[in-house]
Symmetry: C2
């Protein structure tokens, strides 16, 4: 909420706002986006809105078709399965590489980010940008940080976002998310113990959980009015 206001450009702050609203489901999936509507809402001209939407489409949060405008990216069980699969595959290999090559600094950051995550209260009122989500992201990033490719870590981060969107949608539909803490602890422990197979199995199970939770909710192919 800091740089959205001060030196940032209008397009940037609109981007941030819209991003949170899409992630948290305030903007319903598969909904057409009305340029004029957004312009009036933010009280700006087309340019900055357009720019923000362009950036969002690069993160697959909105889809764009030439001369036919933008729409909020749809959700589906198929896509969630695809995302989950991609997460399992990429996180597996990145985690293995990290465990194999990570040094003391890496291990320390894993520990630190885990404890931060424990201490962060789970405030899901402003979902998209909650403290907890931030801490959650940091933990998952820390696990992979020593894999040897910043690009790969960045990609896993993108997948985290994609999954987070589903998680938040499930949450607002009344899903319960048990105690992620103990799962995170187990993952953390196996990782610093350098038990690669175990850590990978736990991590993938952690990802699968989101998918399982949303399975029933998304079954009828998710049609909103």
């Amino acid at each position: 909420m800091n740089k959205s206001e001060s030196t940032a450009t209008l397009a940037s702050s609109i981007f941030t706002t819209l991003r949170e609203e899409i992630l948290s489901g305030v903007l319903r999936p598969d909904t057409k986006i009305n340029l004029r509507g957004l312009c009036e809402r933010f009280d700006v001209a087309f340019s900055p809105v357009r720019e923000a939407l362009n950036r969002l489409s690069s993160q697959n949060l909105v889809s764009q078709t030439d001369r036919r405008g933008f729409k909020v990216a749809p959700i589906s069980l198929e896509e969630l399965s695809d995302i989950t699969r991609a997460r399992c595959l990429t996180n597996e290999i990145a985690l293995r590489a990290s465990i194999a090559e990570g040094d003391a600094d890496w291990e320390e950051e894993v520990l630190v980010s885990f404890h931060r995550l424990l201490r962060t209260p789970r405030d899901d009122r402003s979902p998209g940008a909650s403290e907890w989500t931030q801490a959650h992201r940091r933990f998952h990033t820390a696990l992979l940080a020593a894999c040897g490719s910043d690009r790969l870590v960045a990609y896993c981060d993108q997948l985290f976002d994609a999954a987070e969107r589903y998680r938040l949608i499930g949450l607002s539909a009344g899903g319960n998310w048990g105690d992620a803490d103990s799962e995170h602890r187990a993952i953390m422990q196996a990782t610093v113990d350098r038990k690669a197979d175990e850590a990978v199995a736990l991590l993938c199970a952690h990802f699968e959980k989101t998918r399982a939770q949303l399975r029933t909710l998304l079954q009828p192919s998710a049609r909103g009015p």
Copy 2:
């Protein structure tokens, strides 16, 4: 060259043009991009150019800083190493998954795309969009197509582009690229024979080659005037 002109939007066709120029090195890395210059060159206003640049920045081909404009993404040995590493890791896991789960259709496409690649002449005059690059991309995509996540395949495709940029730059600097054909054949053969370890090793070696070629060229940290 087809849809760049007809139904596409101005922004889209400028995007395509600029993309090719960046990939092929016509637009020098780490160069500041002058909005007005581009506007005059394409004879359009700011909006479409800005939009094109926004889309390019989502592919990491240009970098953007608020109120400070755009510049062509720099190149460096470090980044190439990062990309190569990411490619090896992601392609390894995706190829293993494909080999484990691919069906007859997948196998067929691997074969077909390989033969197309053989038959395509290596015309590097219009580098960014050459037939050969297209065929090359298709082959590498086919290898991974059965991994179970379209998203992951799409990401590998992005990495392909990132690496292609370096390849083309190396090419224009007088690099020679031996016979990739025989490498591709070996990869193809090992893949359809379902020899995962061998296929992965060959594929990673294939990626490493680009990096090795450019090592010397990029050593002095690539400063252009």
